[in-house]
């Protein structure tokens, strides 16, 4: 309380000017996010932005100063793909149509979602939140700050990229058995049809432009207008393409339609097409790195009983996402009602008790680590890449991805860039976030030591110059 009063007093006693108070951070070490490191530097913050950073920044008297000389400061991490803050996780899908390009997921964003506070505690300050994967063209992704004070402030941009999903996610759960033309009989129902749907939409948008140029009475169509923005290179396209064949399909479609700004998401098999990706300079957002169902030999269906019911949950096993299934059901087996899983997928690998309850299969190290190794291979081949889709338990966070990638050979400075400036650049939000530099948002993470050491703890998080988390007093290491 006394602290609060003091703060109020300071605020009152500061001469009223157009701009806010100055904040200075004395840091033991600063990782700028661009690969550069400064020992013992000062960061000057004003109005939520970084004014200056360096060893010779002069601290003005009377300003607020955080002495963090015992700590290490890095830019807030940027998660290039996330489903945080969307009610129901990836279930944020509009299933009425296969294509909803003009929808903005920002409109569904829940600023009160606990996801955001979790992300902030894990050092992620910027997220690119995507629509779900059930639509072929799902809509527009948004850039969100994890600052927990209302959508108006949190959503930094509501049109970061157009989201297109290849593979079998949009086909999963389609009613194969229902009558043609029936409610559940949505297209597509296969990998090739998914790609066809994309091609058709892109072509239709081009046709619409021609028609409209010739005939002014053709009404404006928001969906086609959005697709045209992407076709004209004004809106990047973020493609979910997990397998080698889907990644190659992205490159094929891009060439066919002259799409210049493409980003590949969740590319688990990116390591199999590094040369194509490097040649076309197509960036990749790597993650989730822990994808137990991925990697080794495809596993057989694990529960014949359920598969035999022939219901709509027949997913393709190599691609099923355990962490973000589209439907939530109570888990039948482990007995803990908080462990919610897709009932169609009896394999739970997220919780010990489910594994012990016999509903999980243990993936082996080689399978688990395939994407970890991929980060290194992509870096070595010169493919621009960033980490994305961190989990929210210790051991699977975005920062942990970087730690494990370093263990597998990725150079440390590049791992730090893949958490900060690289994903920011790939997502086109690097004018505001991703590095500690003059004019950038003051989004900072303060740690007890080298961020890539698993023993280092996050002790402070600042977003737009405001302290979101301060755990320095807890357990001073």
């Amino acid at each position: 309380m006394a602290h609060l009063l003091l703060l109020v007093l300071i605020a009152v006693s500061t001469p009223a000017t157009d701009s806010g108070p100055d904040l200075f951070i004395k840091a033991g070490r600063v990782y700028l996010g661009t690969g550069e490191t400064l020992e013992g530097a000062v960061i000057h913050i004003k109005d939520g932005r970084i004014v200056a950073v360096g060893k010779d920044v002069v601290i003005t008297s009377g300003a607020t100063v955080y002495d963090l000389s015992a700590y290490v400061v890095m830019p807030g991490m940027v998660e290039g793909v996330s489903y945080a803050g969307i009610p129901g996780g990836r279930a944020g899908n509009e299933e009425g149509r296969e294509h909803t390009p003009s929808l903005r997921v920002a409109q569904a964003f829940d600023p009160r979602s606990p996801d955001l506070a979790r992300k902030a505690r894990m050092g992620v300050t910027s997220l690119v939140v995507h629509p779900g994967s059930r639509n072929v063209i799902g809509g527009m992704a948004c850039h969100v700050k994890a600052r927990l004070d209302g959508a108006a402030v949190m959503v930094a941009s509501d049109a970061v990229a157009l989201r297109i999903t290849l593979g079998t996610d949009p086909a999963a759960g389609q009613g194969r058995s229902s009558r043609s033309g029936g409610f559940m009989n949505r297209r597509p129902q296969s990998r090739m049809a998914t790609i066809y749907e994309v091609r058709e939409q892109l072509q239709r948008a081009l046709n619409y432009r021609e028609r409209r140029a010739a005939d002014k009475t053709v009404p404006e169509n928001a969906d086609y207008e959005t697709v045209l923005l992407a076709l004209d290179g004004k809106l990047p396209v973020h493609w979910q393409a997990r397998t080698q064949k889907d990644i190659q399909a992205v490159l094929r479609l891009a060439k066919e339609f002259g799409l210049k700004r493409n980003v590949v998401l969740e590319a688990y098999e990116a390591d199999k097409c590094t040369s194509e990706l490097a040649q076309t300079s197509t960036p990749v957002l790597v993650g989730p790195l822990f994808h137990p169902q991925y990697g080794g030999a495809p596993r057989p269906p694990t529960n014949p009983e359920i598969d035999a019911t022939g219901d709509d949950h027949a997913h393709e096993h190599e691609e099923i996402c355990l962490v973000g299934c589209t439907q939530e059901h109570e888990h039948r087996d482990c007995g803990d009602p908080t462990h919610v899983h897709d009932a169609s997928w009896p394999t739970c690998v997220s919780h010990d008790c489910c594994i012990a309850a016999g509903v999980g299969i243990a993936p082996d190290t080689a399978e688990v680590h395939r994407p970890v190794g991929a980060a290194w291979k992509l870096w070595k081949s010169g493919v621009p890449c960033g980490f994305a889709r961190g989990g929210d338990v210790p051991g699977s966070t975005l920062l942990d991805f970087a730690r494990f990638a370093v263990r597998s050979g990725l150079p440390a400075d590049h791992a730090l860039r893949m958490l900060t400036s690289e994903p920011a650049r790939i997502c086109g939000i690097d004018d505001r976030v991703g590095s500690i530099a003059k004019g950038k948002d003051a989004d900072l993470v303060v740690l007890t030591g080298d961020p890539l050491l698993p023993t280092s703890a996050i002790k402070m998080v600042l977003i737009d110059g405001e302290v979101i988390l301060d755990a320095r007093k807890e357990n001073a290491k």
Partner: protein, 409 residues
């Protein structure tokens, strides 16, 4: 016959049990580390640990720039069993044993070698009330018998209901133990058992008295000859487990899920050590404010003063490594020594193999890891795994690993 002889010959050569690791940093997990030191293993046992140790005719590993530490000990897992067959669906099956279910060909054991888990307490799953016998194994060997470190570490019991009502679950468990006690008393009255001094081996006595095999493990539990590894999922379960243990005079080891954290102070007061599951963090919602509260489980137990071992899980990128779990403990405020003990010495003690495993000390088994870096650096790889003085794993000879990992140094 000749082939058999040849095989025996080959194994006796390959299975040399003497080894000297020189010039490495030695983390003993027994109090005194050496910046540069040597570990001598003779006849499968650690013979000497010191700054300079010489031994003629013993194979030498030059550990320059490397770190030597004891193999990790997993105090509780069901991962060595086929994923879908870890639980009996009948609630009371004291007569089954993981001996019949451990699958030596599972990739899990290969992983254990790569990850340095050299002693693994495999237990039946958590769903069954009295779930059967566990076994401590090493991840090396073609048969369960040759893998065995300790044949009967304990009987698995779950006080956490996995079906029906909590009270009914406990009532049934109590009734089963009571039934066992009565049967045991009846047998004793009939003079079939009781003269323990005769052989000094309760198992033999029970067999001599003709006890049904089905009841044997339960009898041994009630006689205090076996430990019960009791799974608790809530703080209430912890109290129930304690009550049952007192009532039936059971020796117990509590295996605590994350939601038992409210019992931490109680466990500290009662000086009960526990095995903690791999889950580091749970989140609860404050019903008043709707705010999410993060509970860091090992920190709560550590701050309360509970002695604990922590296990790993196959369901998480970091959580599957004992070294990562230990690094998390340091992150949450524990000392290096305490954190490493929680994955080596303490689990070994708790599962009853403390005299043989869990630290590098003369007289203990020669189970050591040679790591490329400090275990808490996050960058360490197991370069060599040594079990009983025998090098059973070498990273340089694991091509599959190289293919997957690419750049790992």
């Amino acid at each position: 016959m000749i082939r058999v002889l040849a095989l025996i010959l080959v194994t006796s050569i390959a299975g040399a049990q003497d080894l000297l690791v020189k010039n490495a940093r030695v983390i003993t997990c027994a109090g005194s580390d050496l910046k540069i030191g040597c570990v001598l293993i003779k006849g499968g046992k650690i013979a000497e640990v010191g700054e300079k140790v010489e031994a003629a005719g013993v194979p030498v590993i030059d550990g320059r720039g490397k770190v030597v530490m004891p193999g990790f000990v997993l105090p509780h897992t069901s991962a060595g069993l086929d994923g879908r067959n870890q639980n009996e669906m009948v609630p009371v099956t004291p007569y089954v044993s993981v001996l019949d279910a451990i699958d030596p060909s599972l990739p899990f054991f290969e992983d254990c070698l790569r990850d340095g888990n050299l002693s693994i307490c495999v237990m039946p799953g958590n769903r069954t009330m009295i779930a059967g016998m566990g076994r401590v194994v090493r991840p090396w060997g073609a048969t369960v018998e040759s893998m065995t470190v300790a044949a009967e570490p304990g009987l698995k019991i779950s006080v956490a209901p996995t079906s029906g009502n909590r009270a009914a679950w406990i009532a049934k468990l109590r009734a089963e133990l009571e039934k066992g006690r009565r049967a045991l008393e009846k047998q004793e009255l009939e003079g079939k058992v009781g003269d323990n001094e005769r052989t000094g081996n309760i198992a033999l006595d029970l067999e001599a008295m003709g006890a049904k095999k089905r009841q044997l493990a339960l009898f041994r539990l009630l006689k205090g000859d076996l430990r019960a590894h009791v799974v608790c999922q809530t703080a209430g379960d912890v109290l129930q487990a304690q009550k049952l243990a007192a009532e039936f005079k059971l020796k117990t080891l509590l295996v605590c899920g994350p939601n038992t954290w409210r019992a931490a102070k109680h466990l500290a007061k009662e000086k009960i050590p526990v095995v903690l599951s791999s889950t580091m963090v749970i989140r609860e919602t404050d019903t008043e404010t709707g705010e999410e509260i993060e509970r860091i489980i090992p920190k709560i137990f550590h701050d309360a003063g509970v002695k604990f071992a922590i296990t790993t899980s196959t369901g998480n990128l970091g959580g599957r490594y004992a070294w990562y779990q230990a690094a998390c403990l340091v992150r949450y405020g524990m000392s290096r020594e305490d954190a490493l003990a929680a994955v080596t010495r303490i689990p070994a003690e708790l599962i009853g193999i403390g005299a043989r495993k869990g630290s590098i000390e003369p007289g203990k088994d020669g189970d050591v890891l040679i790591l490329t870096d400090d275990p808490l650096s996050g960058r360490a790889w197991v370069e060599q795994a040594v079990i009983g003085g025998e090098v059973v794993y070498e990273r340089s000879r694991a091509p599959r690993l190289a293919e997957v990992f690419g750049g790992g140094k």
